[in-house]
């Protein structure tokens, strides 16, 4: 399938499902990656102060120094990466712009980006924009979607210029272990590849799993561009707050791209992000605890429905195997939507090979989540009865 068609399958399919769900008054959306929580009040209050006191402040394209300093402090504390706020950070319009800049910075015409499958659609879209080639590397539910360094090696082509590492991954919710990260860095060194790392879910990790940033490991920093954003962990999707960080030489290019693509992010969003990073962390912790509880609820219902799934190690979703239904993911997703008014995203929209999966997010209040899952169970029961021989 051509990349153009795949793009249609992906983003457009998801947007048309969202549109359909909007038509139901009682829809429960277990699809889109937008936390149900509104942005914590102290962040909105900081935005108000920024409107009053800083709305006319100058910002360079890479963002004001205080936000870059706060990011530097954060990545040092949480990711163990030392960066210079003067040269190594560019503040962006969300993780999405960070992703776009990272891909455009690293991938030119004909260059390959190795993308573990399944993945967040926009990576392939951005590579297509760059006129590069995304090279898919399959991961398997039986291996909890592990990014196996030996499989990665086997997938490399002479044109591969960079390796994408998203941990925890969207939609598979898998975390790349430290040992695998080390092996992947060694592979990148051996083949002179850049690494594009997406840490957007680094604070949303479950059970005993731990998050490792490739830039924190020996040999990683000088070849890695890393993105992160406040959208998911701080419920700030509407503010468009994210960043790219990396070695100063590569960041010169990211900075020039940021100026060419959009210039500085809104000064108010920058101050809101500053408040999120430097203010009280309790609201974020509370949301995190809620996600842990909700994850349990979702897994319970999925067990009741007889689904298997890769154990979600991080993120805000579960990737559910629907193979036994014999239906394509879009077919099942549409059935569940029309019958139960519950929207779960079809895996086929994330990757051709994932057409026997659904992605279910736990970004709804517990009562709605239970209601939606109960309705989904009813619909599934009815579907299996109809399909019974």
């Amino acid at each position: 399938m051509t990349q153009e068609k795949q793009k249609k399958r992906g983003t457009e399919v998801l947007y048309s499902l969202i549109a359909e769900a909007r038509g139901y008054d009682d829809a429960v959306v277990l699809g889109r990656g937008d936390p149900d929580f509104d942005t914590p009040a102290h962040i909105v209050a900081a935005a108000k102060r920024a409107f009053e006191n800083h709305a006319n402040d100058y910002s360079p394209p890479e963002g004001i120094l205080p936000i870059r300093e706060a990011i530097a402090e954060r990545v040092q504390r949480i990711n163990g990466v030392e960066v210079d706020p003067n040269t190594d950070i560019v503040f962006t319009n969300g993780g999405q712009e960070a992703l776009f800049l990272m891909v455009v910075a690293a991938i030119g015409e004909g260059d390959g980006l190795l993308v573990p499958e399944p993945n967040y659609n926009t990576y392939k879209d951005a590579v297509t924009f760059s006129r590069g080639v995304s090279v898919g590397m399959p991961t398997y539910p039986a291996e909890s979607f592990r990014v196996d360094p030996e499989r990665v090696r086997a997938t490399l082509t002479p044109d591969t210029k960079a390796l994408l590492l998203v941990s925890p991954n969207n939609p598979a919710a898998s975390v790349i272990s430290r040992d695998d990260q080390l092996a992947l860095i060694a592979l990148a060194e051996e083949h002179d590849l850049l690494i594009l790392a997406d840490d957007i879910y680094d604070l949303l990790i479950y059970d005993d799993f731990t998050h490792t940033s490739p830039a924190s490991l020996p040999g990683g920093k000088e070849r890695t561009l890393t993105l992160n954003a406040l959208s998911k962990a701080y419920a700030m999707t509407g503010w468009r707050t994210g960043w790219v960080m990396g070695p100063a030489d590569l960041m010169v290019r990211v900075k020039a791209l940021k100026a060419a693509v959009s210039g500085p992010a809104s000064i108010v969003s920058q101050h809101a992000a500053l408040a999120a990073l430097t203010g009280p962390q309790e609201p974020m912790e509370e949301m995190r605890e809620a996600y842990i509880r909700r994850r349990g609820i979702v897994l319970d219902y999925l067990d009741q429905m007889g689904f298997s799934y890769g154990n979600p190690q991080g993120g805000q979703f579960v990737f559910v195997d629907i193979g036994h239904t014999g239906m394509s993911s879009l077919e099942l997703s549409q059935k569940i939507l029309s019958r139960a008014h519950v929207l779960a995203y079809p895996g086929g929209a994330f990757s051709e090979d994932m057409d026997h999966f659904l992605r279910i997010t736990f970004l709804q209040p517990e009562d709605q989540l239970r209601d939606g899952l109960a309705r989904m169970k009813q619909a599934m029961d009815a579907i299996s009865e109809e399909n019974a021989p």
Binding site: P60, Q96, T237, G238, A260, V261, S262, G263, I267
Partner: protein, 374 residues
């Protein structure tokens, strides 16, 4: 030995002159910074209140990729108020800055029409936006007498050569010169007869004074061909909120929205709600500012001209483009004054300053000038 991946990337980056075009800020860095193309004023308290109310009521989530519907409707209504009909809300894309509007429009349209004609004197952000996946570029000569606008003949020649896309600023970002209505009409005819398209930056049009302004998008049949870009409601304090707009045809609205999704999902909601409120009283508010800018500009131009400084023709009240010596420009810079340098636009020797009521910048230029002369 072969060059490494990173070294190759950085070498190519260094050689990309378009992408490395200088960056010009929309917001001044200090009280002595006159490098923006219009002065930046404070936001009305009502705008702040209304925006915070929206944020407190939970408008903190992703919104539709092309922007919140009421803002798109307000942009359409504003265009209609200016005599530009035929750009419904479904053809509006709200962007995270004027620069994002430039980038989206240029990247999407040049993908389909891979040759673009643009004035040799143009905002450096245009070159930067073209520095990624550069299309074929055809520079149009400009005329000093008109304020560095390309003559319509030059555009016609490019169209004759088969170029299907023209990028134009009216008013021009360096001088504030706007095309005469008769030229705009001729241009519309040329686009029609050559089956060509235009991107028209009319961001500075609200500052045009003393003469009617005609948008290329206002002419019959042009809505199919002309993509309008600009700041959303310039001059009322939104500059730091980084918000721009695109008004385009059905043909381009969809791919522009797709690329916007890939690039940034949507524009910050706080910026959009602020623009929505600021747009409500835009005409009255800007009217007040405009009146004072006109007075200050006229006085300044008279003083400068009397002192023998060449002021370039332009129709906007928000800026003055003048030719001063390099020595004078440097001595003003040494004193902390900042102007936009014509060299960054492709015309060295010109300095552009924003008209800023209450500032002493023109007096300073004049006193430095007379000091240098004595």
């Amino acid at each position: 030995m072969t060059e490494g991946t990173k070294a190759t990337l950085l070498r190519n980056h260094g050689a990309n002159e378009l992408l490395n075009a200088p960056y010009l800020a929309q917001v001044p860095q200090s009280d002595l910074d006159f490098a923006t193309d219009h002065p930046v004023t404070g936001l009305e308290p009502a705008v702040i209140e209304s925006t915070i109310e929206a944020m407190e009521s939970g408008q903190t989530h992703y919104v539709d990729v092309p922007g919140i519907l009421p803002l798109r409707e307000a942009v359409t209504a504003h265009l209609e108020g200016e005599g530009v009909d035929g750009y419904p809300a479904s053809s509006i894309v709200v962007t995270a800055s004027l620069q994002e509007a430039r980038f989206l429009a240029l990247q999407v349209i040049t993908e389909a029409l891979p040759e673009v004609a643009l004035p040799e004197v143009v905002h450096p952000g245009v070159k930067a936006a073209l520095g990624i996946r550069p299309p074929g570029l055809h520079y149009l000569t400009v005329e000093r007498e008109s304020g560095m606008l390309p003559p319509i003949d030059a555009i016609e020649q490019a169209l004759e050569r088969g170029v299907k896309l023209v990028y134009l600023e009216s008013p021009a970002r360096l001088t504030g010169a706007a095309f005469e209505p008769s030229s705009v009409e001729r241009l519309a005819g040329l686009l029609e007869s050559h089956d060509a398209y235009a991107i028209w930056d009319q961001g500075l049009s609200p500052f045009v004074s003393g003469r009617p302004y005609l948008s290329l998008g206002a002419l019959a049949g042009m809505q199919e061909r002309v993509t309008l870009i600009g700041e959303a409601f310039p001059g009322v304090g939104l500059e730091g909120l980084a918000i721009g707009t695109i008004a385009t045809s059905e043909r381009w609205a969809k791919p522009i929205t797709s690329l916007k999704q890939i690039m940034s999902i949507c524009t910050a909601t706080a910026s959009q709600y602020a623009a929505l409120k600021a747009g409500e009283h835009f005409d009255t508010e800007l009217g007040e500012l405009l009146a004072s800018l006109q007075v200050v500009r006229q006085e300044s131009v008279e003083q400068l001209t009397a002192a023998g400084v060449h002021v370039h023709p332009g129709q906007v009240a928000s800026l003055i483009a003048l030719t001063i010596s390099q020595e004078l420009a440097s001595s003003l810079r040494e004193r902390g004054y900042r102007f936009a340098d014509g060299a960054d636009f492709g015309h060295p020797g010109v300095q552009r300053l924003s008209v800023t009521p209450g500032s002493d910048v023109v007096e300073m230029i004049l006193s430095q000038l007379s000091e240098a002369r004595s």
